[in-house]
Symmetry: C2
Subunit: 241 residues, 2 copies
DNA sequence: TCAAAAGTGTTCCTTCTACACCCATGT
DNA sequence: ACATGGGTGTAGAAGGAACACTTTTGA
């Protein structure tokens, strides 16, 4: 936790990123297991330095965890209840790891900084799982993709933040044409349909779905994709610039 | 500006409220003229105390300015550019009011606190203009309703905040059925139509508009409203609980 | 009984949905 | 040739827009 020394973070504000990825008909979210005894799972969070736009801070956090710079990102909500403190969680963590900490930790600057009331700005990100190699931060024991339907209990109000992120994703997806960000640069309509069916947990009629997507007029048709399967090769598409 | 002494505000976070009202076919916004030489106009802002939910802080700010407690409120966006500082504005203000301040003000705690970088949480509120009597805060010279099409230049990025608020209002209005909050408890469909036509700057066919609103199924029909006009009395409606 | 505005019903047109049909591909 | 899945066209259903018609009110 020595990163506090070097940096010049704004007090009492954090960013929480809900990073969504898609793979094998499954919508997934990137969750860290913290590097302490006890099962502590968390979203990807971080802080904002004094000379950093909040959007830039969010991108930095994403870069640290995914290695990618140009990730699709959406600020969706601020979580600002007065009782939003890490105190309860940090105390539990210290208790579960009592061997590692001396008794005076609760008087330390770090402890006070961390257990203060925090306001969190929620972002959700959409990434192509194939393109990234999740990299744990210094406080993570591991960082892994979890099916959105089977995530572990998360610390603090991260469960709520996650649920709200998913809700906003569903609301935005047709308005902002952003589902394509879950796919590689080029993709077939079928792949888009799979994503929609996964996210909205319903089926779409193939032929109508095709029209709906193409009528959005945001895709550019490229060459055909020959997969070796014994059927007509589908066209590849990419997002129009 | 002595309020800083008493309170225990969170540093570097503020709330900015865009308060919309409706009157005489006009959408209006409540803007303060600050109590200093030079024409400084601003949205309704404030800070968050350490033990206060952000939504509660926004409500408190609204209560201070309008006297109303149960105002419709929507958090719509966070403004967090690194260069969001009041410094430029405060310096201009001090210059325009140099007689009132001694040379050392720029070393004062107040000056440092205020000119720091701030992250603002944007809320918009919808109120019935008839119900409130705008009350200026201690730094206001006056507080007045302005037609959204002719607001004065605002300080800092308040122009941008206002524009984004209006944009979000338009997006939300059908989704959240919130236009009714601009009206008294009971109202006629015609009054709702006037609001829609004002906000979206287009006309609606009366008969179809009536159906659209009633089919939302959020209104309860009450008795008729006899105005004395020589025409059929329209029904009054109120929002279903 | 007339003018003005509210409320209801009907027709027309656009859009969405379901499905039939044809096309390309590899075995 | 044929099984498989992609792409296009079309008829029917649903939803929205335009407008005619009826009702209510006060003069």
């Amino acid at each position: 936790m020595d990163f506090l020394k070097d940096s010049n973070y704004i007090n009492q504000i954090s960013i929480e990123c809900v990073i969504f990825g898609y793979e094998e008909q499954t919508l997934k979210v990137l969750i860290s297991k913290l590097n302490f005894s006890g099962d502590f799972y968390a979203l990807q969070g971080g802080f904002i330095t004094q000379d950093e736009d909040i959007d830039v801070a969010a991108k930095r956090i994403l870069l640290e965890r995914t290695g990618l710079n140009d990730i699709y990102l959406n600020q969706f909500e601020v979580f600002g209840k007065a009782n939003r403190k890490r105190k309860e969680f940090i105390d539990k963590l210290i208790e579960a790891n009592s061997a590692a900490y001396d008794k005076n930790i609760k008087n330390s600057d770090k402890y006070l900084w961390f257990t203060n009331r925090f306001i969190s700005i929620g972002y959700y990100a959409l990434v192509d799982i194939q393109k990234i190699h999740p990299k744990k931060s210094e406080i993570d024991a591991s960082i892994e993709w979890h099916n959105v339907h089977s995530i572990p209990d998360l610390i603090m109000d991260h469960d709520e933040i996650f649920k709200h992120a998913l809700h906003h994703l569903k609301e935005d997806i047709d308005k902002k044409f952003n589902a394509f960000n879950l796919l590689p640069e080029t993709f077939t309509i079928k792949e888009v349909q799979d994503i929609y069916e996964t996210i909205f947990e319903r089926e779409y009629v193939r032929t109508n779905f095709q029209k709906k997507i193409l009528e959005m007029n945001v895709l550019e048709r490229l060459e055909k994709k020959f997969t070796g399967a014994k059927n007509k090769a589908p066209y590849l598409y990419k997002i129009k610039i």
